[in-house]
Amino acid sequence: MTSGPLNMVNPFAVLESPGTLAGDFYARSFEKKAGPNRVILNLGPQHPSTHGVLRVLVELDGEYVVRAEPVLGYLHRMHEKMGEVKTPWQYIPNMGRVDYLHPLAWNWAFVGAAEKLAGLTVPERAEYLRVIGCELNRIGSHLLWWGAFVMDLGGFTPILYAFEEREKINDILQIITGSRLTMANFRFGGVITDADDRFIGLIQEFIPYLRKRLVMYKGLVTDNVILRRRLEGIGPMDVDLCQRYGATGPILRAAGLPRDLRKDCPYGVYPKFNFPIPSGPVNDSFGRYLVRLKEIETSLDIVEQAVNSLPNGPIMMDKAPKVSFKLPAGETYFAVEGARGQIGVHLVSDGGKNPYRVKLRAPGFSNLSLFAEAAKGSLLADAIAILGSLDLVIPEIDR
């Protein structure tokens, strides 16, 4: 390393001399492609706006982003390898840990894949309970995203409101899942705990309560001029961009395409419910904000219909698989609509004790991959808004 006149390290000299070690592997790899007179800025992995442990390297020209590269893996736990060394039964709790904001959708994706492969049918009451759990979970996920997103933009208060509602949802879901975060109440052929009167009662109180609160959110946050100025026209993402990067969920719907697996490739008892798929009208960060808030309302509609028509009956199929359950040889791909987009499980079995291969398709992984292109040319502060509008859950991306 060379030293400056005051015997201080000259950072530019470090960058220019090959062989000296400045930064880590990813920083060095990134800065090799940097232009002259550019600043390389490292965001994260510990940074409030990266929602957990995401790291983003950006090349700046003044305050504008010339190039960005997310660096992943800080929360990597090799869930796919665990899928191969555990029995299917032992693997269910892993699903609650892949995406801690929408664990029941991951439960459904894996359990659903195993049920397809083994040809199991789920009793109707269990299907209803799956829908109720999954939709309440989606509301909780969207609310937390809402709070954290507004916090990214400098507004602290909304996250306190969001957590208040989320606590209520957790109180409800705790009754049927026994946990408040890493929920795993799905089993092959049904669910493990039945709904009781308290569960139904709390939901019936919660639905009108949240509807009222959503009106307040609109006045408090959505119509706020500062928020609108920070989001409108920022980070447009059209259908072609989504298609090239595989982005799904609210991002694709905000781009104008009402693509939702609950309608387009229905699973469970979703065809029995009447609900709209919000999409558009604008494909910028504000459009994505609107679509997610609208989805909270549609999820409430679904929960209301499901609770009102909840059938009686068993919650597990007859002769449900035991702990020693083995998957028959074969392959299947089962996908559900998670809060962030299409969650897919590619399950391959050779008929042995453990699955042969479990490939987890995390929507956040594909959604984040378009960030580099979407952020190009934007102000750094707007890039943070774009990142927030993608609704990232890092453990799901890193798996």
């Binding site: 992943l72 090239r244 387009d264 391959v348």
Partner: protein, 204 residues
């Protein structure tokens, strides 16, 4: 100022603008893709029960045809869901899952990669989102992708020293035919059929 007021008009945010539009769910045109892949020199063509397998149709393609097949899917409104690799007795099987923007169910094409030269062409030029999926397969299976612009570790640390974690021991390997990847299959290439233990013609 009036412009700003207009911008803030609460009506903009009303549900009217977010009216539900739903797509008429239709299933993928199976015959169209069987024919298209045959033209790409497919080794095998498979029909699947989409309600059970989740995909409607699949094929094993030669490595040289991957980019062309991906381009054709891109032009027909398909998006790349994921790239799922696995190790079988015959080598590495890389499955590219695609979802159609306006239909139910999915389709997939696959490539068989030998252990001696575990390398494939990248489909990054068509689907830039494939870059990360390919880097993941590079991490987990040690597969390399020509033309991938940034083939460095993605999920594993850069100094990870062990063998790729999802490779299997020889004893644990299963043949492709046993893994149910073939569905109702038509073998178009006799050599390939012999490799995966299937004779010519239609079998299920």
């Amino acid at each position: 100022m009036s412009d700003q007021n207009k911008n803030l008009d609460a009506k903009n945010l009303d549900a009217k603008n977010l009216d539900a539009k739903t797509i008429d769910a239709k299933t993928i045109d199976i015959d169209k893709w069987l024919k298209a892949w045959k033209a790409h020199g497919a080794y095998t063509l498979s029909k699947h029960d989409p309600h059970k397998d989740g995909i409607a149709v699949s094929a094993f393609l030669p490595l040289t045809a991957l980019l062309g097949a991906a381009k054709e899917l891109y032009q027909n409104k398909f998006l790349l869901l994921d790239l799922s690799a696995l190790e079988a007795q015959e080598g590495y099987v890389v499955t590219y899952h695609f979802d159609h923007l306006e239909s139910s169910f999915r389709l997939a094409f696959r490539a068989l990669v030998s252990r001696k030269k575990p390398s494939l062409p990248s489909i990054h030029p068509i689907f830039p989102g494939a870059e990360w999926h390919e880097r993941e397969a590079y991490d987990f299976f040690g597969l390399t992708f020509d033309q991938n612009p940034n083939l460095i570790p993605l999920l594993l640390p850069d100094d990870f020293a062990g063998p790729p974690p999802l490779r299997k021991t020889t004893a644990a390997l299963a043949p492709i035919a046993k893994l149910g990847l073939l569905g109702q299959v038509e073998i178009l290439d006799a050599d390939f059929g012999a490799l995966i233990g299937q004779t010519g013609g239609l079998s299920s």
